[in-house]
């Protein structure tokens, strides 16, 4: 199944990726190849096979005691941040 240019652009937007117009045909082609390839799964008869999200059967979620174990580390953590002020991470104005 071939993906259209509009589909590729739609996916890129959903993934917050900006594709150079010149790159779009490449992605159109390679993603179409991939979609064809994984489309093969359609032919698998999976009747009776429950979806498997985790590779270890029977393993269940462990619970953590409700205890505060973390201390303020924002000064260290914000060393990786591109733009901060007064302890806040800064982004261009968000319009609500």
């Amino acid at each position: 199944m071939a993906l259209t240019r509009a589909q590729v652009e739609g996916i890129a937007h959903l993934a917050r990726l900006e594709l150079d117009p010149a790159e779009v045909p490449q992605y159109e082609q390679s993603l179409s190849r991939i979609v064809d390839f994984i489309g093969e799964l359609e032919r698998a008869n999976t009747a009776g096979a429950a979806p498997m999200a985790h590779p270890l059967p029977g393993l269940v979620q462990r619970l953590r005691a409700d205890e505060v174990t973390e201390r303020d580390g924002h000064a260290l953590y914000q060393r990786n941040a591109p733009q901060v002020a007064s302890g806040l991470y800064l982004v261009p104005k968000v319009i609500e």
Partner: protein, 485 residues
């Protein structure tokens, strides 16, 4: 003296004070520096910290203390977070990222006394089978530098193959330990999902990723894995069962061990010379008293398409956190929020990562979820069922690690599917969460081939035992590329 020794040898010599960690580390650092232009195995070399750690290890050893790996040099794949040392994941996105914490694997190996020499190159975010997707340039195969070392743990495999280090950490999401180990003629183990903590291991596909080791021998893998593995309360998918002593019983006889030969691994596109090497390896196991039989796992051929739904789906979500706000690359002068997101991510990620994010976004999106994601998870269940049935009959499964030996740089970059099919034999173990190894089993046209061994959940010891006995009978794992000898 310090050219080729194994972890096992070095640990003993260090403890016996035949060598010092400092001199060992100096020698390794020199080799690493010298190798960089040709191999590019390292993204970051941490010489100063390494020497400090080596001095500390020597003091411990002199005092008769020190962990099981005291003073042994190792390298970490550059997706294990290391406090104070940058962790790039092979990506421009994290070019300057310095984690404020150590991954559990890093902390455990540190506690065992291992000395980190640096961070090893890899495919960007572990997405690739050739190491060509690294932002820091491809790693080259020490056996022939116009060939790829495999991926995504190409730096780890190349460094061990070139004897820059006796062992390195690595990760395996669809073959990223085994395939480069095979391409570089070294030994690698991907443990059972949940055996090694994923905390601090930057995620590609969370339900498939598993940390492991690449080293020269199975015994070395056992030695390092023993210090890495184990329950971690910070990882919900870590399994709380004791870690056995992987070194115990390595020399026990193999007589009576039932080995299943995976029929499907010989059906599709396996190079004839490679097949001969693998079948010769089977003969070695038969000589050792193992019983071989052929087994068919009919759903195995669907592993690759199922994987290329599940892995991209998880990756598309895992990589959404790289948005230029709290860490990582940020574009200059964003016009607005959308521009900040889109340009930061587009500049920070390379084409293969973008392709996988887009594939994953597509398969999870409204109207496609059932057809792709759910379907793939059902196929995953069927593949797992195949393995369960097989392990009711045999103790181990064996086959080739890859369809061919290492290929040339650029040979498979044009078409993603050609590249993806390189993992055709390795992916199924990840989908089912099984432990799997690659062991050198000979050469095809002068390039190493790998024998893959797969076991049931938590049977690492069984794998290591078989691999160790094989390595006692063969010397493929001792071969060193001419240029590194």
């Amino acid at each position: 003296m310090i050219d080729r020794p194994t972890v096992t040898q070095l640990a003993a010599d260090l403890r016996a004070r035949k060598i010092s960690s400092v001199e060992l580390v100096r020698a390794c650092l020199a080799r690493i520096e010298a190798s960089q232009p040709a191999l590019n195995a390292f993204v970051t070399i941490t010489a100063d910290q390494a020497l400090e750690q080596a001095e500390a290890a020597d003091r411990e050893l002199a005092a008769g203390r020190g962990g099981p790996l005291a003073g042994v040099p190792i390298g970490h794949k550059d997706l294990f977070c290391t406090a104070g040392v940058r962790t790039t994941c092979g990506s421009r996105m994290l070019e300057n990222f310095v984690a404020p914490y150590d991954a559990t694997v890093v902390a455990r190996l540190k506690a065992a006394g291992a000395v980190m020499l640096g961070k090893l190159n890899m495919d960007e975010f572990a997405m690739g089978s050739s190491n060509e997707t690294s932002y820091f340039g491809p790693v080259r195969n020490p056996w022939k530098t116009d060939l790829v070392p495999g991926g995504s743990s190409g730096g780890s495999a190349a460094a061990v193959a070139a004897r820059l280090l006796p062992a390195a950490t690595a990760t395996d999401t669809g073959g990223s330990i085994r395939q480069p180990a095979a391409f570089c003629g070294v030994t690698g183990i991907k443990p059972t999902y949940g055996r090694v903590s994923r905390y601090g291991m930057i995620a590609f596909a969370s339900s498939l990723d598993q940390g492991g080791v690449i080293a020269q021998t199975a015994e070395d893998c056992a030695r390092v894995l023993r210090s890495m593995a184990g329950f971690d309360p910070r990882d919900s998918t870590s399994v709380d069962i004791p870690v056995p002593d992987y070194l115990a019983g390595l020399d026990a006889p193999l007589a009576g061990v039932r080995i299943g030969v995976l029929k499907e691994f010989f059906d599709t596109g396996l190079d004839a010379g490679y097949e001969r090497r693998v079948r010769e390896a089977f003969a070695v196991f038969e000589r050792l008293g193992a019983r071989l039989c052929e087994l068919s796992l009919p759903n195995i051929p669907r592993s690759v398409p199922a994987y290329y739904v599940v892995a991209p789906a998880e990756c598309s979500s895992n990589l959404a956190r790289y948005d230029g706000v709290r860490f990582g690359h940020r574009c200059s002068a964003p016009r607005d929020l959308a521009d900040l997101y889109k340009r930061s991510r587009s500049e920070g990620f390379g084409p293969e990562v973008k392709r996988r994010i887009m594939t994953g976004t597509y398969v999870l999106s409204a109207g496609y979820y059932d057809a792709y994601y759910l379907k793939a998870q059902r196929v995953r269940r069927m593949i797992t069922g195949d393995f369960e049935r097989a392990f009711a009959e045999v103790d181990l499964l064996m086959g080739p690690t890859t369809p061919t030996v290492a290929f040339a740089l650029g040979a498979k970059s044009a078409d993603p599917i050609t590249m993806y099919l390189n993992d055709i034999y390795t992916i199924s173990a990840n989908l089912a969460g099984l432990p799997a190894m690659s062991v050198p089993c000979g050469f095809v046209d002068g390039l190493p081939a790998g024998l893959q061994i797969i076991g049931p959940h938590f049977a690492e010891q069984r794998l290591l035992h078989a691999a160790h006995r094989f390595q006692r009978e063969t010397d493929w794992h001792t071969r060193v590329p001419e240029r590194c000898a």
